[in-house]
């Protein structure tokens, strides 16, 4: 500092006080333990800086994944092949026999088995004219009187729906 920069005594005193207080403030924040901790953190960062990136295992299991045993793998392969074959054959059969023929052959058989077993099962696949008539009747009922009765509930429910 040259003479031009040289502070006057009052300012010099103030600057001395400022410097001393500034140092004391930092020293109050960082005691010897804090300095040692900071040193350790710096050295840890430096140690990590030189290491290659770590690749995390996924999924995060403790033991690495092992390949399946030879016998199990063979069984899985055989089952998959058999399933594929069955699917192909079934698909071909459905293609060869038209849908109606399939239904008419299956439905009576289902009805027979139901009556033989004294069970009241409705064949799921077969739809007769009587069934169609029943479904039409239900449809008409829903779209006329029943629908008008339900509409009030619908409106009210809509009104209470959360925004």
């Amino acid at each position: 500092m040259n003479r031009r920069d040289e502070p006057d005594p009052t300012l010099a005193d103030a600057l001395d006080a400022y410097r001393a207080a500034a140092w004391a403030e930092v020293d109050a924040h960082f005691d010897e333990r804090a300095l040692e901790a900071q040193r350790q953190r710096i050295l840890q960062k430096l140690a990590q800086a030189g290491q290659p990136a770590r690749v995390l295992a996924f999924p995060g299991s403790a033991s690495p994944l092992r390949p399946a045993a030879g016998i199990s793998r063979r069984w899985i392969s055989a089952a998959a092949a058999a399933g594929l074959l069955v699917g192909l054959v079934t698909g071909q059969l459905l293609h060869v026999m038209p849908g109606d023929a399939w239904v008419h052959r299956v439905a009576p058989r289902a009805a027979q088995s139901v009556s033989a077993g004294r069970m009241t099962l409705i064949p799921a696949v077969a739809t007769t004219d009587a069934d169609n008539a029943l479904l039409d009747a239900i449809d008409v009922a829903v779209t006329t009187r029943g629908a008008s009765d339900l509409r009030a509930f619908d409106d009210m429910t809509f009104a209470y729906e959360p925004r």
Binding site: P7, L11, A14, A17, Y18, W23, V26, D27, L43, L46
Partner: protein, 215 residues
């Protein structure tokens, strides 16, 4: 302050602060550079611990003056030391390590300050330190009057320093808190020695004015 780099990191060290007698830090730094060059990184890291121990208190004093927050000052100092080690091979033994380190430290502090401002966190103003206990003002055997006077001066100077423009504050901090010479400050900041002297002169003139007004 934020958003404007006070220190030109790319500027050459214009005023060569060649050391007639290398400082202890410069000696250790040269040693570490040699170890790294020979691939002995573990020994280099070990030796670097000694360098950190030598400089960290001074570094914290400078960083804290900028950041006014112990956590940020801690982070800035850590960043500075890590950068020093990573780039130790660029260190020139014919120049002062202290000055090189000061430049890195100031830039690390500014980076931290910018990051903090980006996060829109409040920067503690110097006036927040009004609660500073009088005991922290080092005047161990001074009378109560002297201690009160020291505290009053501390507050006046702190307020005045906080109001200085960025470059003047930087130069003032390095000059008064870190006790660097204008040539060292010039080397550390990339300013010319003449510019440093002008900033320092203006800073002291403002402080003198502020103290005169409040006297």
């Amino acid at each position: 302050m934020a958003g404007r780099s006070v220190v030109d990191a790319g500027a050459p060290l214009r005023d060569k602060v060649a050391e007639a007698q290398p400082s202890p830090a410069s000696v250790i730094a040269a040693e570490i550079k040699g170890l790294v060059a020979r691939g002995e990184r573990d020994q280099a890291r070990e030796r670097f611990g000694a360098l950190v121990a030598l400089l960290q208190r001074r570094a914290l004093r400078v960083a804290f003056q900028y950041l006014r927050n112990p956590d940020d000052a801690d982070e800035a100092v850590q960043d500075a030391f890590v950068k020093v080690f990573v780039h130790i091979e660029q260190y020139r033994e014919d120049l002062s390590f202290d000055v090189w380190f000061t430049r890195i430290l100031v830039n690390a502090s500014l980076d931290r300050l910018k990051a903090r401002n980006r996060q829109q966190r409040f920067i503690a103003q110097a006036s927040d330190d009004d609660e500073r206990p009088v005991e922290q003002v080092p005047a161990a055997e001074a009378s109560t009057e002297r201690r009160l006077l020291a505290r009053e001066r501390w507050e006046q100077v702190t307020r005045a320093v906080a109001n200085l423009p960025d470059r003047q504050r930087l130069v003032f901090t390095l000059s008064q808190v870190d006790q660097r010479t204008p040539a060292e400050i010039a080397a550390a900041t990339g300013m010319s020695a003449a510019t440093v002297r002008v900033h320092l002169f203006r800073a002291l003139r403002k402080l003198r004015g502020a103290l005169g007004e409040q006297a």
